[in-house]
Symmetry: D2
Subunit: 344 residues, 4 copies
Amino acid sequence: MIVMKETATEEEIEAVLAKIERAGAVPHRSKGARVTVIGAIGDVEQDASVESLGLEAQPGVDRVVPILKPYKLASAQFRHGERTVLEIDGRKIGGEHFALIAGPCTVESREQVLSTADVVKDAGVAMLRGGAYKPRTSPYAFQGLGAEGLKLLAEAKERTGLPIVTELMDARDLEPVLEVADVIQVGARNMQNFPLLAEIGRAQLPVLLKRGLGAPLEELLMAAEYILKEGNPAVMLCERGIRTFETDHRRVTLDIMAVPILKELSHLPVIVDPSHAAGRRALVEPLSLAAAAAGADGIIVEVHPNPDEALCDGPQALLADDFAAYAAAVERAAALAGKVPSTA
Amino acid sequence: MIVMKETATEEEIEAVLAKIERAGAVPHRSKGARVTVIGAIGDVEQDASVESLGLEAQPGVDRVVPILKPYKLASAQFRHGERTVLEIDGRKIGGEHFALIAGPCTVESREQVLSTADVVKDAGVAMLRGGAYKPRTSPYAFQGLGAEGLKLLAEAKERTGLPIVTELMDARDLEPVLEVADVIQVGARNMQNFPLLAEIGRAQLPVLLKRGLGAPLEELLMAAEYILKEGNPAVMLCERGIRTFETDHRRVTLDIMAVPILKELSHLPVIVDPSHAAGRRALVEPLSLAAAAAGADGIIVEVHPNPDEALCDGPQALLADDFAAYAAAVERAAALAGKVPSTA
Amino acid sequence: MIVMKETATEEEIEAVLAKIERAGAVPHRSKGARVTVIGAIGDVEQDASVESLGLEAQPGVDRVVPILKPYKLASAQFRHGERTVLEIDGRKIGGEHFALIAGPCTVESREQVLSTADVVKDAGVAMLRGGAYKPRTSPYAFQGLGAEGLKLLAEAKERTGLPIVTELMDARDLEPVLEVADVIQVGARNMQNFPLLAEIGRAQLPVLLKRGLGAPLEELLMAAEYILKEGNPAVMLCERGIRTFETDHRRVTLDIMAVPILKELSHLPVIVDPSHAAGRRALVEPLSLAAAAAGADGIIVEVHPNPDEALCDGPQALLADDFAAYAAAVERAAALAGKVPSTA
Amino acid sequence: MIVMKETATEEEIEAVLAKIERAGAVPHRSKGARVTVIGAIGDVEQDASVESLGLEAQPGVDRVVPILKPYKLASAQFRHGERTVLEIDGRKIGGEHFALIAGPCTVESREQVLSTADVVKDAGVAMLRGGAYKPRTSPYAFQGLGAEGLKLLAEAKERTGLPIVTELMDARDLEPVLEVADVIQVGARNMQNFPLLAEIGRAQLPVLLKRGLGAPLEELLMAAEYILKEGNPAVMLCERGIRTFETDHRRVTLDIMAVPILKELSHLPVIVDPSHAAGRRALVEPLSLAAAAAGADGIIVEVHPNPDEALCDGPQALLADDFAAYAAAVERAAALAGKVPSTA
């Protein structure tokens, strides 16, 4: 929809009408007491073609207000209000099913990953997380064990039966990751790595897509749309904090509002990652309870048997010894939002 | 603490040492492999005087890192880790006590305020909120009933026995507000209206101080310090959302992390206002549950018997008919965080 | 304008139409391929009354898009595209006139203010700035000399003939400030101190209104509207930085885009304060040149004869010795944008 | 450096000292009037290993303040204050050399790219920009001509002699891009696509690295470090706007302060992209003048012979007819900052 300036002339209005017609859409003129508004409502693709007209820069135009949402497959309307419930190796997630996903930030050693896997398994989590390929802000930081890490995750899966969530950073590593992963994680920094998204869309494996630190929710949904469009319907959206002016005592700012808003906008399950938002263990439990009480479909959280020795993000890892109590508290919070815990 | 540049010369280092000495503090030089760091650790006041030296602009200086927190009376250390528990007309708030504060955004009519007061009273809230003086972004919007509104609040208090929370915008209105209010609210836009804060600091009435939309938590604590410094120890801190790049589908962004972080930094009770952050009714309950589960000491929320007719912020008001169920759910969430509801 | 959800029923659409009619506006229904859009275009006041209907929370409504700008007197349309040119004691500002305003952050002593006044006078500035009442984040920081400071400003004006720009923080100090000031400054923290704005609106003196650190431009214009509505047409808008996620190496982030955007939206002169945005001297000149080249109508900047001894904001003050060269460079940048320097 | 809490016990302090020693660094304890501060200053790698200790979560620790900058090769210190001047096919950029880079957003057709190339060549620009692979928020938007687009760029280079700046999105397209490009552009969304950065670091071609919309400057420098570390020293840093709460009338917010701050922190050339920040033609010239006056080493800008027909970002493209006047104005602004225009 195009809002004209109060000072727009008849010629300027007609020029806009003509452009919309040339783009194949039907303009609809409506004159208020002070301004003229021109509608050009069509399908998403038509909307995109009207948007690509560049009317913002046309003389007499005040602004262009998109009416249709720019995503389709990810929208709540696409499933007529029904929610997507994924089933991953017997664990459900979405709808009334709440899944706790836990494990080490990064796979560091056989002992670390196996002992953590045992702890989270005993606490009844739905899936095991662990990174073999790690995106790190600094080129001097530990970058993960790579293929060796994948092998250790396979061993942990063999031992505990837990499905594995692990990150893919480079489309060229897709095959080895597919061999081990039950869920492919796309990190926040890769949320708009479109070739990677398309590649993952062609793989038939559930995806956990993290929101970029500077990404509005609409862009997260558009990133999901890249995956869905390739034929992969199994996308989980993950809130993990956004950049705000508040930079002390936290790493980024958890956008708790993303939980109810994403559930309004989309049928896809919504997961929260409190560990990376917080950056500090003391904040992880209150944020987890908040996320579960707000209606999240799951939480992905970091645990370490000995965080002081962790090679990556130790300060935010929950202590293995405290994990069972934590998991029980989170379940109670999820129950407040009408959710049942998901296990095999 | 002053971090010198790697390229700082001996002369530049000595100039900094000399300045710190002239300011009456004792500099402490420490040389690492690559940079020199100069400490000048004293009391808050000394710290302020070292900060006022303007060393950031001194040749050879990379940056100045404040070590001591710039607030004292508001800090957790000031009460040695003990939490402040306020008692307002028999209702406790802080520590293990959770207070639900509810009522209309603005006092609009006798019927509206009395019927809302009855509804929230029946649901067992701790206090009644209602605005007689309303700060509005637009000069063309309804600005509140003023003195007439205060009278209606007095009548609601008389009728229900509920303590009254109401906003003061102008120091010149202090007296009439003091006659009716049990808690003076300072709105987000006035968080750094220092003459108003000082005036309220001299009044001996509890204060609910809302965080400004662009204010880091440290500035909220400094604003509280203005009130505490005048001798009024009864300040509640209120998170009500911050400005972020996410502007769709919400009014501002609720900073849920503010709850656990403020409780680390300060002994003062922490309240959350989900209504003004959300701007839409559908978000208010999930955000309220999140806030309570995260450990907030209270929630302040808007209710209206007929929000469609509200003169201010109708879309965010809870429906009176739904309020009892809402209040019960919030209580359960607060219980998760170990809180008991506060009533007379 | 109200955008309905794709799933909105005929009943929901009719309920919206009925509400708009009851509010005294004429609804205009327009049906696209997928959604229905309902216009309710009237005057600003009508728009406000439609907005106050709370349609955001009505069943079937996706969102409400305001069409008219919520400010009127401050809008570019109000003067049909003609720019406001203020004349302050013979100095013009706005249109093609560029005014450099300089002086100390705070009046600290007779010698400091008079020597600074001489320096900036010699460099040909349009006005002298200086604070007698200083809003400070910390209650422990120097709060200005108050009435004594105003006297020193009067003496500087007497001596140099320069008009005085000084801040008013408290409506109760209006009278003494009016005796000395040629321009009343409203600080960023008071941008939405509505009783103060209304009081200043009733005083017939030009106003320099600083943008709040968390305020969108539209809210700055609404704050100006509060002053204009009381009959005072002489408002200058001042950009001085906003809060963003970038918090290192700067105090806040100068929003250079505010300059061309405010000039599109409003007829009022646009001033930039690089000193408070930067917080460090080294950034002040590049930002000043940027602001002048971008078309600002003026710059307000801090100068100190001996910044190391300054009681407030020394690190960001320009050195008096460098000021003449700085002023000449800024003039050249303003000339690029077609501006002539304003002097008596 | 580790700042202990005021309440830290002797045991807690000693535990921190012990951990630092175990990490191979030498702790340095310094006791102020109220808090103890522990230094552990080493090399960047040691600093990283102290950081990886997770001391933030250790009992008694208030916070960890990194002293050394986490990037080395990108830092101003690395070249002892000397600035990097790149020479690309005879065009210099950096130091006193200012390079204007212009061309279409996206290569759309032979005629479009050749006619634009002629226009910008005639105006004396240093390089031609043009996208063959386009990252688009929506999967339904035009994604660029790919290999066909590269051919057209090769033809434009052949015809005009202008070096080509073009984007690489997928490491698997590196070879064809290397055949045509003189500068590889890394888009904002790929700023932390670390495998792509490393791949480009191994290619010996200059790189234009755009800042992510949510990336602090330090993360931009770390991303540059990924490229430099692989042995490619020719990196240009590009500011193109950040996400802030201000979302109206612009696409993102140009961070003009990034120009002087990046030049303080790094020896690498700093480029500004006003087109993508603005999103609207009317803002491009004021922002370009601002950037040049603030000391940018270059500007990259979009031009189109017929923006109304552009398939991508038409509203922000400068009109070809206006380009010569624009280029002349930008040169004058750059001259204010002491720069000479770069041509062959």
